[in-house]
Symmetry: C2
Subunit: 348 residues, 2 copies
């Protein structure tokens, strides 16, 4: 495996990212390579400080950084020397002359919009794909759940949602080992009559596609009840839901801890390990690196607040994605679906 990692992107970059890369050396093979993309001086200083010299760590110098608040498309065009852009080049087939060796996968915890833009621009889309979507694996208390799209495409057309259903099914099968994954479409009611014309059009496309185990609409209430393996929604809703779930879980644990502490400080001490075990069982850091489905390569987008262990987990996950044959399966399944289902022009 040859994995390019943007060490400049993320709330805790570059230190947490570099620390994660060093820790990941424990879980990769002797012939794997981590290509650290960022300012050479920063990278070298860090490695000197921690005293690490390992032939599996390479550096690809990038002089510029796309900040979290930069406007994505503009930043990608305006900062060709940024770590995100150079990382995507390293992962693309097109620019093999510019970077020594094409990487099998790329990983960034930086500006998500810029990653999506740069990935589409340089890695390009897989044949037949309209718009790539981010598929996040959520440890949803009752088991793993794939949510797509988590923020790449806030205003998808029905055909985009349809392709997310196909691609996410492939992901659940190939990478999470879920046979015949149950696919649901997020809506504000479970009845067939509910929802916008776009959602109904997406539903009709998904339902008409052989090989998708479509189980119907899902409401927010059922999200954590384990009724579906794959949930399809637009990037605005997906992103908002993810962030809200994260915030609510945190606030709720805090409220419980406070209430317990006020009741009996001794009880609070007993409660602490319980919370830790629940966190460990449902640790989203373990799922670090959500694939941008539909690009020609493996592009992993990590949480902005990624810590070293998130990056370490993402490196491990990258290997699984590379070896899964996911993209070949996606291309074949999309092609088969296009032969059977004919989307109406207005929804394409």
């Amino acid at each position: 495996m040859r994995l390019a990692i943007d060490v400049m992107g993320g709330d805790h970059a570059p230190d947490a990212i570099l620390k994660g890369c060093v820790e990941a050396l424990q879980v990769i093979s002797p012939d794997d390579r981590l290509v650290l993309v960022g300012k050479r001086r920063v990278i070298e200083e860090y490695l000197d400080d921690v005293g690490v010299r390992d032939p599996r760590l390479e550096t690809l110098h990038a002089d510029d950084v796309i900040e979290m608040g930069d406007e994505p498309a503009k930043a990608v065009r305006g900062k060709p020397e940024s770590s995100i852009v150079k990382m995507m080049l390293a992962g693309s087939a097109k620019y093999e002359s510019l970077v020594p060796q094409r990487c099998d996968a790329v990983l960034s915890a930086g500006n998500t919009g810029a990653c999506v833009s740069a990935s589409i621009m340089h890695m390009k889309r897989l044949p037949g794909v309209h718009r790539p979507g981010i598929a996040v694996t959520i440890p949803a208390l009752t088991g793993n759940l794939v949510l797509c799209d988590a923020g790449a495409n806030p205003e998808p057309k029905p055909t985009h949602l349809w392709q997310y259903a196909i691609m996410s099914s492939c992901l659940a099968e190939k990478c999470l080992g879920i046979a015949n994954p149950r696919v649901a479409l997020m809506n504000i009611g479970s009845e067939d009559s509910k929802g916008s014309a776009e959602i109904k059009a997406a539903r009709d496309l998904i339902r008409a596609t052989p090989g998708i185990n479509y189980i119907g609409y899902i409401e927010g209430r059922e999200f954590f009840e384990g009724v579906a393996d794959v949930v399809i929604t637009d990037g605005f809703v997906g992103n908002t839901l993810l962030k809200m779930a994260e915030g609510l879980a945190k606030s709720l644990f805090k409220a419980i801890a406070q209430e317990i502490f006020e009741t009996d400080p001794h009880l609070a001490m007993q409660f602490e390990p319980v919370v830790k075990r629940i966190y460990a069982k449902n640790d989203y850091h373990e799922h670090g690196g959500a694939p941008l489905l539909g690009v020609n390569g493996i592009c992993l987008i990590a949480h902005g607040s990624s810590e070293a262990r998130t990056i370490k987990a993402a490196v491990r996950n990258a290997k699984r994605y590379i070896e899964s044959g996911l993209n070949d399966e996606i291309v074949a399944r999309l092609d088969a679906a296009e032969r059977v289902v004919q989307p109406q022009r207005e929804y394409a």
Copy 2:
């Protein structure tokens, strides 16, 4: 107060609704009236069974019921004798000849879409209102939070969101006693560059309106952190977020309880009262009955899974809404805003 209540609507109707009405007799005045709208025989049998005869309970017979799965607009047109339609007539100025006395407010836990449709059709909108929106008060761990729209208008235009900001500010001030409420707009990033053209247009309208304390975009993560008093979003996102928060909180408490039980059954017993206190402090049933802001009257929409105590709380809340002078304030504030801010035609 004269309050019409749809006793046929809701997952636990009619029994839970009727029980709630009977319990509400404890909290209303001698000259208040609850007008029970539904099948006369069902209502009379229930009251006979529980042995209640109270002059404050009146019955308005409705022969038909709009089911939860009915397509809203179609059901409202096709079932003129339904409890929802007859309740809205009782609350409207127009049909005073048909029903003995106009009610000051109406309340239903039935099909939300049908309530919105019937309310707009019969109660009509307040002067200047484009589209009514549901404003739910959420006990958000750190304090009360108004979320609008919670499901009346899944695809709002920027002017609708703008009016929700104005109307919800009035609600927070007049009914929740929050001075100068902090208003935020839900988005997938906090930076000004983020979001669709529609969200940016809504932001510009809200920002330009004197009297709105606009604090910027809010992401899902901050929802439970107490940074805003009013959160504005489209009805799809609002509805999904609400349901998800409900489901997640439930699932999380379940996971904690299970983990504690597996650790130490004795500890589980000590934990139970803590959970109960948190529930009590953040009980959404206490906020039963979310006003449909923008209709000419007080139309309260209760949670589909309303229990007797939800209805009892909603009756108490109805009185507060009626006495608040909310609608006069809304009309005045919308009028003042329209004089200052000129929405671009494409976003109106």
